[in-house]
Symmetry: C2
Subunit: 162 residues, 2 copies
Protein backbone atom coordinates (compact mmCIF):
# COMPACT_ATOMS: atom_id res chain seq x y z
CA UNK A 1 0.00 0.00 0.00
CA UNK A 2 1.24 3.47 -0.88
CA UNK A 3 1.11 6.11 1.86
CA UNK A 4 -0.92 9.20 1.02
CA UNK A 5 2.09 11.48 1.52
CA UNK A 6 3.97 9.44 -1.09
CA UNK A 7 1.06 9.90 -3.51
CA UNK A 8 1.01 13.59 -2.68
CA UNK A 9 4.78 13.87 -3.31
CA UNK A 10 4.51 12.03 -6.62
CA UNK A 11 1.63 14.29 -7.61
CA UNK A 12 3.72 17.38 -6.81
CA UNK A 13 6.65 16.07 -8.88
CA UNK A 14 4.30 15.27 -11.74
CA UNK A 15 2.67 18.73 -11.59
CA UNK A 16 6.08 20.39 -11.52
CA UNK A 17 7.19 18.39 -14.57
CA UNK A 18 3.99 19.17 -16.49
CA UNK A 19 4.40 22.89 -15.79
CA UNK A 20 8.07 22.79 -16.83
CA UNK A 21 7.22 20.91 -19.98
CA UNK A 22 4.58 23.54 -20.82
CA UNK A 23 7.30 26.14 -20.24
CA UNK A 24 9.61 24.31 -22.66
CA UNK A 25 12.09 23.30 -19.93
CA UNK A 26 13.67 19.83 -20.25
CA UNK A 27 12.57 17.95 -17.14
CA UNK A 28 15.96 16.29 -16.59
CA UNK A 29 17.53 19.74 -16.06
CA UNK A 30 14.67 21.16 -14.02
CA UNK A 31 16.77 20.98 -10.83
CA UNK A 32 18.92 23.81 -12.24
CA UNK A 33 15.88 26.10 -11.88
CA UNK A 34 14.69 24.64 -8.59
CA UNK A 35 18.05 25.04 -6.81
CA UNK A 36 19.34 28.48 -5.70
CA UNK A 37 21.93 28.72 -8.49
CA UNK A 38 23.05 31.79 -10.46
CA UNK A 39 21.44 32.65 -13.78
CA UNK A 40 23.63 34.64 -16.16
CA UNK A 41 20.92 36.94 -17.49
CA UNK A 42 21.46 38.43 -20.94
CA UNK A 43 19.51 41.55 -21.86
CA UNK A 44 19.69 44.04 -24.74
CA UNK A 45 20.50 47.72 -24.20
CA UNK A 46 18.45 50.44 -25.88
CA UNK A 47 21.30 50.80 -28.45
CA UNK A 48 20.95 47.10 -29.39
CA UNK A 49 24.14 45.76 -27.78
CA UNK A 50 24.01 42.90 -25.27
CA UNK A 51 24.76 42.82 -21.57
CA UNK A 52 25.04 39.79 -19.25
CA UNK A 53 25.57 39.25 -15.52
CA UNK A 54 24.83 36.60 -12.89
CA UNK A 55 21.60 37.08 -10.97
CA UNK A 56 19.58 35.51 -8.21
CA UNK A 57 16.24 34.27 -9.47
CA UNK A 58 13.06 32.55 -8.39
CA UNK A 59 11.15 29.88 -10.32
CA UNK A 60 7.49 29.03 -9.65
CA UNK A 61 7.29 26.17 -12.17
CA UNK A 62 6.12 28.50 -14.97
CA UNK A 63 7.99 31.78 -14.82
CA UNK A 64 11.35 33.16 -13.69
CA UNK A 65 11.55 36.19 -11.41
CA UNK A 66 14.52 38.55 -11.09
CA UNK A 67 14.71 41.42 -8.61
CA UNK A 68 16.31 44.68 -9.74
CA UNK A 69 15.70 48.42 -9.30
CA UNK A 70 14.40 51.17 -11.57
CA UNK A 71 17.85 52.83 -11.31
CA UNK A 72 19.69 50.01 -13.06
CA UNK A 73 20.62 49.47 -16.69
CA UNK A 74 18.92 46.07 -16.69
CA UNK A 75 15.56 47.75 -16.00
CA UNK A 76 16.03 50.16 -18.93
CA UNK A 77 17.09 47.23 -21.12
CA UNK A 78 14.01 45.08 -20.55
CA UNK A 79 11.77 48.07 -21.13
CA UNK A 80 13.26 48.62 -24.59
CA UNK A 81 13.89 44.93 -25.42
CA UNK A 82 11.63 42.39 -23.65
CA UNK A 83 13.42 39.32 -25.04
CA UNK A 84 15.97 37.92 -22.58
CA UNK A 85 17.97 34.72 -22.09
CA UNK A 86 19.47 33.06 -19.02
CA UNK A 87 22.29 30.52 -18.75
CA UNK A 88 22.52 28.33 -15.63
CA UNK A 89 25.33 25.84 -14.96
CA UNK A 90 25.46 23.01 -12.46
CA UNK A 91 28.25 23.98 -10.03
CA UNK A 92 29.02 20.26 -9.57
CA UNK A 93 29.44 19.74 -13.33
CA UNK A 94 30.11 22.79 -15.52
CA UNK A 95 29.28 20.73 -18.63
CA UNK A 96 25.69 20.25 -17.46
CA UNK A 97 23.79 23.44 -18.19
CA UNK A 98 20.56 24.98 -19.40
CA UNK A 99 19.77 28.01 -21.49
CA UNK A 100 16.30 29.49 -21.10
CA UNK A 101 15.12 32.07 -23.60
CA UNK A 102 12.04 34.07 -22.72
CA UNK A 103 10.03 37.22 -22.81
CA UNK A 104 9.46 39.74 -20.03
CA UNK A 105 5.74 39.46 -19.36
CA UNK A 106 5.49 41.85 -16.45
CA UNK A 107 7.60 44.31 -14.48
CA UNK A 108 6.01 44.36 -11.04
CA UNK A 109 6.70 47.10 -8.49
CA UNK A 110 8.11 45.65 -5.24
CA UNK A 111 8.29 48.80 -3.06
CA UNK A 112 8.43 46.90 0.24
CA UNK A 113 11.04 44.52 -1.24
CA UNK A 114 8.84 41.55 -0.39
CA UNK A 115 9.83 39.55 -3.46
CA UNK A 116 13.46 40.61 -2.97
CA UNK A 117 13.37 39.26 0.61
CA UNK A 118 11.75 36.01 -0.56
CA UNK A 119 14.58 35.55 -3.07
CA UNK A 120 17.14 36.66 -0.46
CA UNK A 121 15.81 33.84 1.77
CA UNK A 122 16.07 31.35 -1.08
CA UNK A 123 19.81 32.18 -1.34
CA UNK A 124 20.45 31.95 2.40
CA UNK A 125 20.57 35.72 3.15
CA UNK A 126 24.32 36.07 2.47
CA UNK A 127 24.46 39.86 2.96
CA UNK A 128 21.55 40.87 5.16
CA UNK A 129 18.25 39.72 6.60
CA UNK A 130 16.88 43.26 6.33
CA UNK A 131 15.08 44.89 3.41
CA UNK A 132 17.70 46.66 1.23
CA UNK A 133 18.16 50.45 1.36
CA UNK A 134 16.90 50.71 -2.25
CA UNK A 135 13.61 48.91 -1.43
CA UNK A 136 11.40 51.73 -2.76
CA UNK A 137 13.01 51.41 -6.22
CA UNK A 138 12.66 47.61 -6.35
CA UNK A 139 10.88 45.92 -9.25
CA UNK A 140 10.48 42.28 -10.26
CA UNK A 141 11.20 41.24 -13.83
CA UNK A 142 8.87 38.32 -14.63
CA UNK A 143 10.05 36.15 -17.51
CA UNK A 144 8.00 33.50 -19.29
CA UNK A 145 10.21 30.89 -21.01
CA UNK A 146 9.61 30.59 -24.75
CA UNK A 147 12.41 28.14 -25.53
CA UNK A 148 15.47 26.44 -24.13
CA UNK A 149 18.62 24.65 -25.17
CA UNK A 150 19.50 21.49 -23.38
CA UNK A 151 23.07 20.48 -22.62
CA UNK A 152 25.08 18.47 -22.80
CA UNK A 153 24.31 17.41 -26.34
CA UNK A 154 23.99 13.63 -26.88
CA UNK A 155 27.58 13.29 -28.18
CA UNK A 156 28.84 15.02 -25.04
CA UNK A 157 26.84 12.68 -22.78
CA UNK A 158 28.64 9.78 -24.46
CA UNK A 159 32.01 11.38 -23.69
CA UNK A 160 31.00 12.12 -20.10
CA UNK A 161 29.89 8.54 -19.54
CA UNK A 162 33.13 7.03 -20.81
Amino acid sequence: MVASNQVSNLLEIWKSEVRASMAAIPTDLLDLLERPLYAHLATTRPDGTVQVSPMWFDWDGERLRFSTTTKRQKYRNVQSHPHVAASISDPENPYRFLEVRGVVEEIEPDPAAEVYMQINNRYGRPFSDQAPPDATDRVVIVVRPTGSSKYPKPWLWEKLKS
Copy 2:
Protein backbone atom coordinates in the same frame (compact mmCIF):
# COMPACT_ATOMS: atom_id res chain seq x y z
CA MET B 1 69.47 42.41 -4.24
CA VAL B 2 66.59 41.37 -6.47
CA ALA B 3 67.09 38.27 -8.61
CA SER B 4 66.64 38.78 -12.34
CA ASN B 5 63.85 36.20 -12.53
CA GLN B 6 61.95 38.22 -9.92
CA VAL B 7 62.40 41.36 -12.05
CA SER B 8 61.27 39.38 -15.08
CA ASN B 9 58.18 38.12 -13.22
CA LEU B 10 57.29 41.60 -12.02
CA LEU B 11 57.72 42.89 -15.56
CA GLU B 12 55.37 40.21 -16.89
CA ILE B 13 52.74 41.06 -14.26
CA TRP B 14 53.08 44.75 -15.08
CA LYS B 15 52.79 44.13 -18.83
CA SER B 16 49.73 41.94 -18.28
CA GLU B 17 48.10 44.67 -16.15
CA VAL B 18 48.88 47.38 -18.70
CA ARG B 19 47.35 45.30 -21.50
CA ALA B 20 44.27 44.55 -19.38
CA SER B 21 43.89 48.19 -18.48
CA MET B 22 44.09 49.11 -22.18
CA ALA B 23 41.38 46.50 -22.74
CA ALA B 24 39.21 48.11 -20.04
CA ILE B 25 39.49 45.11 -17.68
CA PRO B 26 39.76 45.89 -13.94
CA THR B 27 43.13 44.49 -12.87
CA ASP B 28 41.83 43.11 -9.56
CA LEU B 29 39.52 40.76 -11.48
CA LEU B 30 42.03 39.86 -14.18
CA ASP B 31 42.47 36.37 -12.70
CA LEU B 32 38.91 35.56 -13.87
CA LEU B 33 40.21 35.82 -17.46
CA GLU B 34 43.54 34.15 -16.78
CA ARG B 35 42.05 31.04 -15.14
CA PRO B 36 40.27 28.34 -17.18
CA LEU B 37 36.79 29.38 -16.04
CA TYR B 38 33.52 29.42 -18.01
CA ALA B 39 32.35 32.57 -19.78
CA HIS B 40 28.61 32.84 -20.28
CA LEU B 41 28.71 34.34 -23.77
CA ALA B 42 25.71 36.41 -24.86
CA THR B 43 25.13 36.93 -28.56
CA THR B 44 22.26 38.32 -30.63
CA ARG B 45 20.37 36.22 -33.16
CA PRO B 46 19.62 37.55 -36.65
CA ASP B 47 16.02 38.27 -35.44
CA GLY B 48 17.38 40.52 -32.65
CA THR B 49 16.68 38.24 -29.66
CA VAL B 50 19.48 37.23 -27.26
CA GLN B 51 21.10 33.88 -26.61
CA VAL B 52 23.58 32.94 -23.85
CA SER B 53 25.56 29.82 -22.95
CA PRO B 54 28.76 28.91 -21.07
CA MET B 55 31.87 28.62 -23.21
CA TRP B 56 35.53 27.80 -22.93
CA PHE B 57 37.68 30.77 -23.86
CA ASP B 58 41.26 31.91 -24.20
CA TRP B 59 42.67 35.31 -23.19
CA ASP B 60 45.95 36.69 -24.51
CA GLY B 61 45.94 39.86 -22.41
CA GLU B 62 44.12 41.85 -25.10
CA ARG B 63 41.45 39.75 -26.75
CA LEU B 64 39.16 36.82 -25.92
CA ARG B 65 38.97 33.79 -28.21
CA PHE B 66 36.04 31.37 -28.45
CA SER B 67 36.04 28.22 -30.58
CA THR B 68 32.84 27.28 -32.41
CA THR B 69 31.85 25.86 -35.81
CA THR B 70 30.23 27.33 -38.92
CA LYS B 71 27.26 25.00 -38.31
CA ARG B 72 26.24 26.61 -35.05
CA GLN B 73 23.76 29.35 -34.22
CA LYS B 74 26.46 31.33 -32.39
CA TYR B 75 28.42 31.67 -35.64
CA ARG B 76 25.37 33.01 -37.48
CA ASN B 77 24.68 35.37 -34.57
CA VAL B 78 28.10 37.05 -34.51
CA GLN B 79 27.99 37.48 -38.28
CA SER B 80 24.74 39.46 -38.04
CA HIS B 81 25.49 41.16 -34.68
CA PRO B 82 29.20 41.61 -33.80
CA HIS B 83 28.54 43.05 -30.32
CA VAL B 84 28.79 40.38 -27.62
CA ALA B 85 29.11 40.21 -23.83
CA ALA B 86 30.56 37.61 -21.47
CA SER B 87 29.90 37.03 -17.77
CA ILE B 88 32.49 35.14 -15.69
CA SER B 89 32.04 34.21 -12.02
CA ASP B 90 34.62 33.10 -9.52
CA PRO B 91 33.63 29.51 -8.62
CA GLU B 92 35.04 30.09 -5.11
CA ASN B 93 32.83 33.16 -4.61
CA PRO B 94 29.77 33.62 -6.83
CA TYR B 95 29.50 37.27 -5.74
CA ARG B 96 32.87 38.07 -7.35
CA PHE B 97 32.34 38.40 -11.08
CA LEU B 98 33.20 40.29 -14.22
CA GLU B 99 31.19 41.28 -17.26
CA VAL B 100 33.17 42.00 -20.43
CA ARG B 101 31.41 43.65 -23.34
CA GLY B 102 33.16 43.61 -26.68
CA VAL B 103 33.08 43.47 -30.42
CA VAL B 104 33.93 40.54 -32.69
CA GLU B 105 37.00 41.76 -34.54
CA GLU B 106 37.76 38.63 -36.51
CA ILE B 107 36.32 35.21 -37.26
CA GLU B 108 39.36 33.07 -38.04
CA PRO B 109 39.12 29.69 -39.79
CA ASP B 110 40.64 26.91 -37.65
CA PRO B 111 40.36 23.92 -40.05
CA ALA B 112 42.99 21.83 -38.25
CA ALA B 113 41.38 22.70 -34.88
CA GLU B 114 44.72 24.06 -33.65
CA VAL B 115 43.17 26.83 -31.57
CA TYR B 116 40.47 24.44 -30.37
CA MET B 117 43.16 22.03 -29.14
CA GLN B 118 45.07 24.85 -27.43
CA ILE B 119 41.88 25.80 -25.58
CA ASN B 120 41.10 22.12 -24.92
CA ASN B 121 44.54 21.89 -23.25
CA ARG B 122 43.85 25.00 -21.17
CA TYR B 123 40.74 23.24 -19.76
CA GLY B 124 42.53 19.97 -19.04
CA ARG B 125 41.21 17.97 -22.03
CA PRO B 126 38.06 16.72 -20.22
CA PHE B 127 36.57 14.90 -23.24
CA SER B 128 39.37 14.07 -25.62
CA ASP B 129 42.98 14.74 -26.49
CA GLN B 130 42.21 14.31 -30.20
CA ALA B 131 41.07 16.94 -32.68
CA PRO B 132 37.24 16.94 -32.75
CA PRO B 133 35.30 15.28 -35.60
CA ASP B 134 34.00 18.71 -36.68
CA ALA B 135 37.54 20.17 -37.05
CA THR B 136 37.07 21.24 -40.68
CA ASP B 137 34.12 23.47 -39.65
CA ARG B 138 35.98 25.07 -36.74
CA VAL B 139 36.32 28.86 -36.48
CA VAL B 140 37.64 31.16 -33.77
CA ILE B 141 35.57 34.14 -32.66
CA VAL B 142 38.03 36.86 -31.61
CA VAL B 143 36.55 39.50 -29.29
CA ARG B 144 38.14 42.81 -28.36
CA PRO B 145 36.79 44.15 -25.04
CA THR B 146 35.23 47.59 -25.29
CA GLY B 147 33.95 47.85 -21.74
CA SER B 148 33.38 45.95 -18.53
CA SER B 149 31.42 46.02 -15.33
CA LYS B 150 33.22 45.27 -12.14
CA TYR B 151 31.66 43.40 -9.26
CA PRO B 152 31.07 43.37 -6.47
CA LYS B 153 30.05 46.98 -6.20
CA PRO B 154 31.67 48.92 -3.32
CA TRP B 155 28.61 48.54 -1.07
CA LEU B 156 28.73 44.79 -1.62
CA TRP B 157 32.44 44.64 -0.73
CA GLU B 158 31.54 46.26 2.59
CA LYS B 159 28.95 43.56 3.23
CA LEU B 160 31.34 40.80 2.21
CA LYS B 161 34.01 42.09 4.58
CA SER B 162 31.69 42.22 7.59
